[in-house]
Symmetry: C2
Subunit: 347 residues, 2 copies
């Protein structure tokens, strides 16, 4: 929907301060050119904060960024408290009046807001609420197993463990190995990065698998490796249903397990995370009988560990599971892309 | 919402012809008085068609049933093709004008229909779309394991195998054994029977477990046996996500497995149903580590088999699984209620 448009990322007073995951994901992996970041608390460029993209400067407000020629404003922060702040409202209206489209991952549907809708119409602009699923989704029916392409799903011992990042790093490594992969996004940041996708956790229960299936059938063919972004965890007491809908919709040929060694309990709960071999067995048992799939590699998220401890955790995990293991952010995903290639050769 | 109201069931030309599952469920198990059934193709009473309720006569139309004093019209048929037929539209409008509330399980939200909404307001009537989930549902967080009450969930080898019926027959048998059970409905027919509930398959993915949890926490306490209606199947390629959300929201202490011996494949698919011991192992493996639960009995649906073959299937299943087995419609659920009691004693 916004392919190739020049983006201005909106992260007022928040960039790199814990709530700008979306902004950082788009800067790290996005396909669109980015002309700037709105954050009056920052000076210099993106590289000063997250060590990449020295070409993306900070601006104190939208008005001063207009000369850089943005075509769309991407809301890159989850507002604290979940409600749209009043200052954001003014800025979004200003952006629409200045001729920018809006890309939003907020819970609130901006396109349904009377003020924004009127402004968008008046100025011929589009508002893309990436969380809003399309209408008329089908019920899943195991159709992906009719494709001959390799389908790799990232799964997790818990939610928020870097499944999107693992899929995107595997995409990079696979491309280096001569594959022609496609990343299939299933959450808001992934959708903003790739420019398409469905936020599966916002889909009505009966259609989650069908929505996943539809995404893969529409975008997968023509690629020899379909990398599906996983969501949640089969072990999460709130999100597990989404995870299983996605697993049965995607019908992967292989899975990559994401795990955070420091996390001992499911987030915000007293549920212990079982040993990894049990987690792996659970995912493998839950794949549909028409296409049983194996976990073929592990992506550890060691963001909170130093390099020595990270290497120790990787080694320990390899010994425990017998599977190639890496921290994709620190050491890349080459060993996972290799494991995926080998799995294809075995079939 | 419609507790104690006198119902008129609407099933024009369809009663007992394959699409009136809702009407039949309400007649068999409902708590409300029923004054009649609208079906011009039938004469006599309900007993002439499904062998129960000789006190419920057929009427050719709504007008002729008004003298019987109905307070609400319950739409008891899923219309063919899924769209609201034009003749239904006229009849629903007539019912509202005649002072009846409307209870609907259609996909279309009748309360959002401008004509029906205006009529309901004008005549002071209510429209209850039972499939519409409430707003502000929480994310599930394994809260049910904080209750000391026994929680029994019906699960299935496939969808549409009689999970609601099994739960309701167990409720009857448990009451005979001196228990004080409550049936927690999670689908449209169950909701119409009990007068409350949430259609979990219509809930947005992230909130399915939370919706189940909320239902149990609100209605369960004060009862010594909480019987939760299951949905779908962990093996169903389209609905499995709903099933897992419900399983993790309900956090059962025990499960009853529903199965149809004649069904060899998941409905509308080429997915074979595995042997029952594998199905049982899968459900038990997927219960959360905080409260692992066992399948303690099996409800076979042998509607298509004669009595001799039904008894043979029951015996065969008992041998295969070592679990008490019955067809709850043909032989009642006493052995399942007994197994549930025994499981409580063991804890």
């Amino acid at each position: 929907m916004f392919q190739n448009k020049r983006l201005l990322i909106y992260a007022p007073d928040e960039f790199g301060r814990g709530h700008s995951k979306t902004a950082e994901g788009v800067l790290r992996y996005g396909r669109n050119p980015v002309v700037g970041i709105v954050d009056a608390s920052r000076t210099g460029t993106c590289a000063d904060v997250i060590g990449i993209r020295a070409d993306v400067p900070f601006y104190p407000d939208i008005a001063s960024a207009l000369a850089a020629g943005p075509e769309a404003l991407l809301l890159g922060v989850a507002p604290r408290g979940g409600r749209l702040p009043a200052s954001w409202r003014n800025d979004i209206a200003f952006a629409l009046r200045s001729g920018l489209d809006i890309i939003s991952g907020l819970h609130e549907v901006l396109a349904a807001d009377p003020e924004f809708r009127a402004l968008a119409e008046e100025h011929g602009r589009q508002i893309w609420d990436v969380r809003e699923p399309p209408a008329d989704l089908p019920v899943g029916n195991a159709l992906v197993c009719g494709l001959s392409e390799q389908v790799v799903l990232t799964v997790g011992s818990d939610c928020a463990m870097g499944k999107m990042t693992a899929s995107l790093e595997i995409e990079k490594s696979a491309r280096k190995r001569g594959r022609n992969p496609i990343f299939i996004p299933t959450g808001q940041t992934g959708i903003m990065i790739a420019g398409f996708g469905i936020s599966i956790d916002r889909v009505i229960g009966d259609f989650m698998a069908g929505a996943t299936e539809k995404l893969i059938l529409e975008h997968g063919p023509g690629h020899d490796l379909i990398l599906v972004e996983g969501q949640g965890s089969l072990l999460h007491p709130g999100y597990s249903g989404v995870t299983l809908g996605l697993l049965h919709g995607a019908m992967p040929t292989e899975m990559i397990l994401c795990h955070e060694p420091s996390r001992k309990f499911i987030r915000d709960s007293t549920l212990p995370i079982p040993p990894l071999p049990e987690v792996i067995a659970l995912y493998e048992a839950m794949t549909l009988p028409l296409r049983k799939a194996k976990v073929v590699g592990i992506a550890l998220n060691c963001f909170d560990l130093d390099e020595e401890e990270t290497r120790r955790q990787i080694e320990k995990t390899q010994e425990l599971t017998g599977l190639p293991t890496t921290d994709v952010v620190k050491f890349g995903a080459d060993c996972l892309a290799e494991a995926i290639d080998k799995a294809r050769e075995r079939r």
